[in-house]
């Protein structure tokens, strides 16, 4: 989209107010809890100056800045190689010492100098502890970088050095190009996971990352009065949130976002254009995923016992789940909405399915989940243990990850649900409820030795389902195509995402042209994500967001009961938009029990 193409804002404040007034007034008749007096997006646009293109390389129009950053980090070229050997080579340049015997006349290093400088934002942190402050001053005056890191891939064997250097350089070049890195380190600076490239590539950077984080950590006093590792007397109080706020910076087109979950450090380096808030949220999901295969208590215990503990061995074999989750982060609305999808189905079928499972349930079964088309068909849980959407998404990830292991019959795997209980494992019995249609049944027990019981329980459910009329209804639901907006006949409405707040579920229609093209699909995803971040911005949340561009008009609307994101024809008038939104809400209301699982199957 060229910059000459101007967005058409439907958005001077009065117009927007009017839109909102209409929506609010008229939706009251629908009993949707639309909140009267909702806040108006008063700067009127919430939009990008100039071209309104989103995603990709787009500059976020919310300047993604901290409300009041105390410390600003600038990382200079840290993740690229331009300053190659800077500090080492000026040694070399300024001297005429002969190389020692060990030197081979050829510099076989593939080393890169990584340095960072910390600059002071508002000068507010100058009361921080003496060491850090001194280093800080040195750094902010731009004298010398505090931390350097050099990589070297020299091995003790000389015969392989030459080709290795080339490979390393190539690998490095393509590594730097990746648009989203996710790196997990221990707080000792040891690598645990990297999404791209080999661990070797992060080993050398680990020190820099650790230095950056510990710099903030050590200047942070937790609400409980404990503090970072160095007890600075004059330390400024910083809450956990404030600390987390500091944990990102931008360098060039990359955002660096840190998440400290001691004893682990997680880092995202992204040029996807997603908001910091979303990158953080994605790191939280990666962290949850990691906990789901290790448990928090194991991690804490192990690192408490051995601070040099190597967590990698526990992740072996589980990478595919982590990788699948990471790939989905940027393609599944579930993650930025913190909500999961239900498979639309006749509510009486859903109820009967739930009842059937409950009927065969043994006391060992704590949770039961039926998943069809990657969406939840039925959920059974104890009354006193509601499940967070994050945990449900982890369970969905297990069955959505392409793996052959479910084909062989039964899988019995430990799975920690960190939001339910991060200190221990649940054990998941995973099987097909119906193999041809890919319907999964997950039975979770807290008992490690419950495999046999759960297996029997599952077999009973399967045979009892096969004998009942219910099966036809279940299969119909799985075979049905996703609903299409075009069949709703709502003027100018092209696509929408609706989050049902009470149940943490969302619904979304099938993609239709133009959004069925991969590029457009991606653009739409970014657009919704962007609207979401605008509406939930910490410093100025808005309840209603509307903007139109040459491609489409987009609306975001948050009330106490739902969040709606919808795109309309670019030329839609606000009258049409208002009418269409109301028509859509009416339809959703009517279909609510089909689209959402409004009451899970409860056990005592």
């Amino acid at each position: 989209m060229s910059s000459s193409q101007q967005e058409q804002h439907l958005a001077d404040a009065t117009e927007l107010e009017e839109l909102e007034r209409r929506l609010t007034l008229e939706s009251e008749g629908l009993d949707l809890d639309g909140e009267p007096g909702a806040h108006v997006d008063d700067d009127g646009e919430g939009g990008n100056g100039g071209d309104g293109e989103l995603g990709g390389e787009d500059e976020d129009d919310n300047p993604l800045e901290l409300s009041k950053p105390d410390v600003v980090f600038h990382m200079e070229d840290s993740f690229n190689q331009h300053d190659d050997d800077e500090d080492m080579d000026d040694d070399d340049a300024g001297e005429n010492d002969a190389m020692t015997e060990g030197d081979r006349g050829e510099d076989a290093r593939a080393s890169r100098g990584n340095s960072f400088r910390a600059g002071e934002g508002e000068g507010k942190r100058s009361r921080a502890g003496s060491n850090v402050r001194r280093a800080y001053e040195e750094l902010s005056q731009g004298r010398s970088p505090t931390v350097r890191s050099h990589a070297s891939s020299i091995t003790s064997r000389h015969d392989t050095e030459e080709p290795q250097r080339t490979d390393a350089a190539l690998e490095e070049a393509s590594w730097v190009e990746e648009d989203k890195h996710i790196i997990i380190l221990s707080d000792a600076g040891k690598p645990i996971y990297t999404r791209h490239g080999s661990e070797d590539m992060i080993v050398t950077r680990a020190g820099v990352i650790q230095a950056l984080i510990s710099f903030i950590e050590e200047n942070y006093r937790r609400p409980d009065g404990t503090h970072g590792s160095v007890p600075f007397r004059q330390q400024k109080e910083m809450t956990e949130d404030e600390r987390d706020e500091l944990m990102w910076f931008k360098a060039g087109e990359f955002y660096f976002v840190f998440l400290v979950r001691s004893p682990l450090y997680l880092l995202m380096v992204s040029k996807t254009g997603e908001a910091v808030k979303h990158l953080k949220q994605q790191l939280e999901y990666v962290y949850s995923q990691l906990l789901s295969i290790t448990t928090l208590s194991h991690i804490q215990r192990a690192f408490h016992r051995w601070s040099n503990y190597d967590l990698r061995c526990h992740l072996a074999g589980m990478e595919k789940f982590t990788e699948h989750l990471i790939d989905r982060l940027q393609a599944d609305y579930a993650f930025f909405l913190n909500a999961y999808q239900c498979l639309p189905m006749d509510p009486s079928v859903r109820d009967k399915l739930g009842a059937l499972i409950q009927q065969h349930k043994q006391k060992e079964v704590v949770f039961a989940l039926v998943v069809g088309n990657g969406k939840v068909m039925s959920l059974m849980r104890p009354r006193r243990f509601p499940l967070k959407p994050q945990d449900i998404l982890l369970m969905l990830n297990v069955v959505q990850t392409p793996t052959r292991s479910f084909d062989v019959g039964e899988t019995w795997m430990p799975l920690c649900l960190p939001h339910f209980n991060s200190s221990g494992f649940m054990h998941a019995h995973v099987t097909y409820l119906h193999e041809e249609e890919g319907i999964f049944l997950l039975l979770l027990s807290n008992k490690q030795d419950a495999f046999k019981t759960l297996s029997t329980c599952r077999n009973e459910i399967v045979s009892s389902l096969a004998d009942s009329k219910l099966l036809a209804g279940v299969l119909r639901a799985v075979r049905a195509e996703s609903f299409r907006v075009s069949t709703l006949k709502i003027p100018d409405l092209r696509h929408f995402v609706y989050k049902h707040i009470k149940t943490n579920q969302f619904t979304v229609p099938a993609l239709e042209p133009p959004y069925s093209e991969p590029d457009e699909e991606r653009r739409l995803f970014c657009l919704y994500q962007h609207v979401e971040s605008q509406m939930h911005a910490n410093n100025r949340p808005v309840k209603l967001f509307f903007r139109s561009s040459l491609q489409e008009a987009v609306l975001g609307w948050a009330t106490a009961t739902f969040e709606l994101y919808a795109v309309f024809d670019a030329l839609a008038t606000k009258q049409t938009v208002t009418a269409s939104v109301l028509a859509l809400l009416k339809w959703i209301k009517k279909s609510e029990t089909r689209l959402f699982m409004t009451s899970p199957q409860l056990t005592s």
Partner: protein, 206 residues
């Protein structure tokens, strides 16, 4: 993860300013030496892959600043070290006398699980400067013996004397710190449902 797991060892080098910590590391990793002195500010990191007794290991070497005013990163640096290298300059008695303090500092900051048996290696550096020698090999050795038989090497970063050997010993010592992880991990951490707090009231419908 794209590659198979190699053992990763975190090695930190401590000692007074100017004893040659950075020079030793540079000699070992890059096979270079410079007479020019540039104080390390904060810390430097280098990595080197080595094969130790048929095991491929990556050494992550953390070279810290000897000058106190440049030590800005605190406990983070010591945490999780697999081996600690203490360096002194054989021509500077003070630097030898400081070893004790560096060792204590490390043990306090890193608080390793088993401080008695934590692997240290001591390097007496600059042995090429024979005429200025102030600390004899015997004196250094007896200190090391006293501290629980710490391996001792007489090195010269300038002439690459004993540098390889010393680092190989360092890698070996660090490897000892690696434990058999599998013994530790089991899936016995079961959820006790009675311990799970009631979450009914937190407003999550499903």
């Amino acid at each position: 993860m794209a590659t198979r797991k190699k053992v990763l060892l975190k090695v930190i080098i401590l000692g007074d300013s100017g004893v040659g910590k950075t020079s030793l590391m540079n000699q070992y990793v890059n096979r270079k030496f410079s007479n020019q002195y540039k104080a390390t500010i904060g810390a430097d990191f280098l990595t080197k892959e080595v094969t130790v007794d048929d095991r491929l290991v990556t050494m992550q070497i953390w070279d810290t600043a000897g000058q106190e005013r440049f030590q800005s990163l605190g406990v983070a640096f010591y945490r999780g070290a697999d081996c600690c290298v203490l360096v002194f300059d054989v021509t500077v008695p003070r630097s030898f006398e400081s070893l004790e303090a560096w060792r204590d500092e490390f043990l306090i900051q890193a608080s390793p699980r088993d401080p008695e048996h934590f692997p240290f290696v001591v390097l007496g550096n600059k042995v090429d400067l024979k005429d200025n020698r102030a600390i004899t090999e015997n004196r250094a050795k007896s200190w090391c013996d006293e501290k629980g038989n710490i391996p001792y090497f007489e090195t010269s970063a300038k002439e690459a004397t004993k540098v390889e050997t010393a680092f190989l010993t360092i890698a070996r010592a660090a490897l000892q710190q690696e434990k058999d992880e599998d013994i530790y991990h089991d899936f016995k951490d079961a959820v006790n449902l009675d311990d799970v707090p009631d979450k009914k009231q937190d407003g999550c419908g499903c």
